[in-house]
């Protein structure tokens, strides 16, 4: 039954821009402060106060627009979206309506079947956030609503996609990609739970082959990727069931309940506001010069997609390794810095994806705070490459480096871990092991060649791991077979 219907999804993402001050006043945007401590006449909407646009917020909007292939409008205007709510102090939200700052962009997403798909970005516009309502938590205050306006007037960029996605997976893929980009750009901290990256989803279904879009529902309150996927899947099922049972989808706003995994109606079309959008006469049109755009463009970092292909094409990584390393900007920078020092991209990738990531996870540390810097890591790799230590010893050295931040050389010296490559010294150990295990020697000579591992282990053990394993192997074979 599901196979007869095509899902159509469009997404609206609100990304909170990482400015230090609010979009229309000088108040701090810091999260989690005492309620209403970060307010002024402007964001409290006192009589007579006027907004002044934060130029840094504009710069971050341009940055995002460029990274999502949008056209940056040379002239855009701010409009008032009028509605009453206690968390909206002015009785209107300053947003952009007719002329947004960014338009006509796109992002490519990778589908499961390995193909790429282009998702259109209709527009991205700047606006201010509302405050927060806090409900009393004691019996006396439970019927009260308190208003905290610390968040009011913080800058948001609303990024609106075309209805180009055809499944929850595509939607998640687009969202993750967009999320990665805004975090990479440093324009948004990307925190879904704190609400710095919020998503609303417009969902509709239609029989395959039908061109006209079905009636859509708008889903709200989606604060994790998992919930978004769950909510979309539930909603698609709900709409199909409804149509199949002879019902009709109505245009409405629906709230996702993460406890039940279901969506429920919040308000219908008939309750929809007439926002009476009107250009805000308190703000002059936002004029963005080509020079400004180019200035911002020059500061754009290499984006994940470009990084991935460089890692594959220039450094010879596998697609999977490139994906993992490019996913996080700081991890990618760490990798790039390591490759620049060590030249051997593959061993850098192996170590970073293996031991470094493991230690980060174990110690709950971010890559930026890792005690083993790219310099230290590549110092270790150099000692493996020149046979000073074996790979196995290197793991131990790495652990020590992580603990005390010393160089590999310092640890190798101090702990006497230098690999034994002196043929005479190894030879005598080999002789001792052969002499001590006549039974195994006989078995080996009888054809049980696998026992070579046993002998290598014994020799390595006797050398406290410092003997060069290749040499041990070679000498053992020589001695055992007598040639």
């Amino acid at each position: 039954m599901t196979q007869r219907y095509e899902t159509v999804i469009g997404l609206e993402v609100h990304a909170q821009l990482t400015t230090n001050t609010k979009i229309f006043c000088g108040c701090s945007t810091e999260f989690g402060q005492t309620p209403n401590s970060q307010t002024c006449p402007v964001c409290l909407a006192l009589p007579g106060a006027l907004p002044v646009l934060n130029q840094k917020a504009v710069e971050l909007a341009i940055r995002t627009g460029l990274a999502t292939n949008c056209q940056i409008a040379p002239r855009s205007i701010f409009a008032r979206k009028n509605y009453f709510y206690p968390d909206l102090p002015k009785g209107y939200q300053i947003s952009q309506f007719e002329l947004p700052v960014c338009e006509h962009g796109w992002l490519d997403i990778d589908l499961e079947n390995g193909e790429r798909k282009r998702i259109g970005i209709t527009r991205a516009h700047m606006e201010e956030d509302a405050g927060k309502l806090v409900h009393g938590d004691t019996p006396e205050t439970s019927s009260n609503s308190l208003v905290d306006l610390n968040r009011a007037c913080t800058p948001l960029l609303e990024i609106v996609s075309e209805p180009d996605m055809r499944s929850a997976d595509e939607a998640i893929s687009y969202l993750k990609k967009l999320h990665q980009i805004v975090v990479y750009l440093g324009v948004c901290d990307g925190n879904l739970e704190e609400g710095s990256f919020r998503c609303d989803a417009n969902i509709s279904v239609r029989p395959y082959g039908q061109e006209e879009l079905g009636t859509r529902a708008e889903l709200k309150n989606l604060n994790s990727f998992r919930f978004i996927k769950q909510a979309i899947e539930f909603e698609v099922e709900r709409q199909i069931d409804l149509i199949e049972s002879g019902g009709k989808v109505v245009q409405e706003t629906r709230l996702f309940d993460s406890n039940t995994g279901m969506t429920r109606s919040m308000r219908g079309k008939e309750d929809a506001h007439d926002y009476r959008y009107v250009p805000d006469p308190d703000l002059v049109p936002l004029v963005i010069s080509q020079e400004w755009i180019e200035e911002v463009r020059a500061t754009l970092p290499e984006l994940p997609e470009a990084k991935r292909s460089r890692f594959v094409e220039e450094l010879g990584l596998t697609a999977y390794d490139a994906e993992v390393l490019a996913a996080d900007r700081e991890l990618a920078d760490y990798f790039d810095a390591s490759v620049a020092l060590a030249k051997d991209a593959k061993s850098c990738a192996n170590w970073i994806m293996g031991d470094v990531l493991r230690k980060l996870k174990e110690t709950d540390t971010t890559i930026a705070n890792a005690p083993v810097s790219p310099e230290l890591l590549t110092g270790l790799l150099a000692r493996i490459a020149d046979n000073t230590i074996s790979g196995k010893i290197a793991k131990k050295v790495f652990e020590k480096m992580w603990q005390n931040g010393q160089t590999a050389d310092q640890i190798i010296d101090k702990e006497g871990l230098k690999q034994v490559t002196d043929t005479g010294a190894i030879e005598s150990l080999v002789d001792e092991v052969i002499a001590a295990n006549p039974g195994q020697v006989a078995e080996y000579l009888g054809g049980k060649e696998k026992l070579i591992g046993f002998f290598v282990g014994k020799v390595m053990q006797a050398s406290q791991g410092k003997a060069n394993p290749g040499m041990v192997n070679q000498l053992l074979k020589q001695k055992l077979t007598g040639n």
Partner: protein, 485 residues
């Protein structure tokens, strides 16, 4: 010499030579206000205590030789300006007990010069009105005839200056609110070019039209007060960063080569004969002073009032949404639900005219009507602005009436809002065009009510307009008449 009969410039000289102290001057005005305000009702708040403190500070500054042009001068301000620590009511019940925590930029600028704020002036509620009858604190009366209105919305500003309750006042002008009451009270009222004076801290009525302006007894004082408040302010995005010339230095009396235009659309049916004659006489005076008088045309004038009542009300409907009873101002504590709190607080807090304009504006912005009303009005506004830019290619200044009639009687037009709206027919186009204009005394009607003339200047050329006004004032005696009050 009576202290309260002195102009700003005259007081300045006497403060500077220590003939008078700021405290003496302030006391004289506070006494004058106490004696006259019961009849005029021009003040909502009188600053009996803070004014003396400010005057003492001004005297200290004078003694220390730290003298700015306004130091120690008694100024009253329309109750639309936010004044830290003082009530700022906008003549509305909804802000009846609202004490502002901050100063408007214009206030901060005159305070920085240690001017003395003697009180907050009555006005039409939220500056919506042409008669000052729309005040929650009662109507203001015209000092020339107590049965007549002083004009509005800065009625308190004009009446207080005419009655010498303050040496100068600040008003605001959205569609004529400084010029029309100035004309009705025979004082000088100036509306600067939009963007010349910061709107920060001025309670908004119609943001794209509102502008702060001085109300004074003569043109020199107007220049003096404008000088103090004019100039770019980073807190107002619509203020314009362009140099402010020395306005007083421009008052040369020299009108040679000046071209003054008489727009023919302003001399039409409905224009009172006394007013027509006074303006014609003024044109003759200008001709005698050496100016060239040229008839010009502003073809879209007839659409200005309709255009204004769409744009101004649309903006007002949004600007006044913040008075919701949530954070400050009147709140109906008996409301059961949120929606009731909104509706009951606003129903109780706003007066009839304010409600009418909020409804008009809400309608004009509603889905389905927006294009037909708001967008159309914006297009008309562009044409009106272009009219002015075109005539300013030919002339330096325009000379027109300020209002079609002298001040009407109290209650005469309160039942007929449309008639009331038409009393701003000559002032509204200037706000739509965004340019500067001023009103100055030019005669009296047969009934003894004042008549004002309007000079309209090029954008940001207040200096030439003031020079033109000053020359007329020098050649006439109208500004010297005072009401027998």
């Amino acid at each position: 010499m009576t202290i309260h009969d002195l102009t700003l410039a005259e007081l300045r000289a006497r403060l500077d030579n220590r003939e008078l102290s700021a405290v003496e001057v302030t006391n004289a005005y506070l006494e004058r206000i106490a004696a006259t305000n019961p009849d005029l009702n021009s003040f909502i708040t009188v600053c009996n205590e803070t004014a003396i403190v400010e005057a003492q500070a001004a005297d200290q500054a004078l003694a220390a030789g730290e003298v700015a042009p306004l130091t120690g001068l008694p100024i009253a301000v329309k109750d639309i300006f936010n004044t830290a620590g003082l009530r700022t009511t906008c003549a509305s019940r909804i802000l009846e007990n609202y004490v502002s925590p901050y100063d408007a930029t214009a206030i901060a600028r005159i305070k920085a010069q240690k001017a003395v704020i003697v009180g907050k002036l009555n006005m039409d509620e939220f500056a919506m009105g042409s008669s000052n009858e729309n005040s929650a604190f009662g109507a203001v009366r015209n000092p020339w005839n107590l049965e007549h209105v002083p004009g509005g919305s800065s009625g308190g500003s004009a009446a207080s200056i005419a009655a010498h309750q303050a040496a100068a006042a600040l008003g605001t002008d959205t569609g004529g609110s400084v010029r029309q009451p100035a004309a009705h009270c025979s004082v000088v009222g100036l509306k600067p070019t939009y963007g010349r004076v910061s709107r920060y801290g001025v309670v908004a009525y119609a943001s794209s039209l509102d502008q702060v302006g001085p109300v004074t007894r003569d043109v020199r004082d107007s220049a003096l007060l404008l000088q103090a408040i004019a100039g770019y302010d980073s807190a107002d995005s619509t203020s314009v960063d362009t140099p402010v010339p020395d306005y007083q230095a421009n008052l040369t009396g020299d009108l040679r080569g000046m071209k003054i235009g008489l727009p023919k659309e302003y001399f039409i049916e409905g224009l009172d004969d006394d007013v027509r004659k006074a303006i014609t006489d003024a044109a003759a005076t200008y001709k005698a002073l050496g100016a060239e008088i040229i008839e010009v045309s502003l073809p879209h004038t007839a659409y200005a009032v309709a255009c204004y009542y769409l744009i101004a009300t649309a903006e007002a409907s949004s600007n006044l949404a913040r008075y919701d009873g949530v954070r400050y101002g009147l709140r109906d504590e008996n409301a059961e639900k949120l929606i009731d709190m909104y509706m009951q607080s606003r129903a109780a807090g706003f007066g009839t005219e304010v409600k009418r304009r909020i409804m008009l504006g809400t309608y004009a912005l509603s889905s389905g009507y927006y294009d037909a009303y708001y967008i159309k009005a914006q297009k008309v506004r562009t044409l009106i602005r272009q009219d002015f830019l075109d005539v300013f290619e030919k002339v330096d200044t325009l000379l027109t009436p300020v209002a079609p009639t002298p001040a009407f009687a109290l209650g005469e037009k309160t039942d007929d809002p449309l008639q009331m709206y038409l009393s701003d027919i000559y002032t509204i186009p200037v706000n739509l065009a965004g340019t500067c204009a001023m009103s100055l005394p030019c005669g009296f009607s047969a009934k003894g009510l004042p008549i004002g003339l309007q000079l309209i200047g090029k954008p940001f050329d207040e200096a030439t307009m003031l020079r033109t006004a000053h020359a007329f004032e020098q050649a006439t005696e109208w500004h010297k008449r005072t009401p027998k009050f």
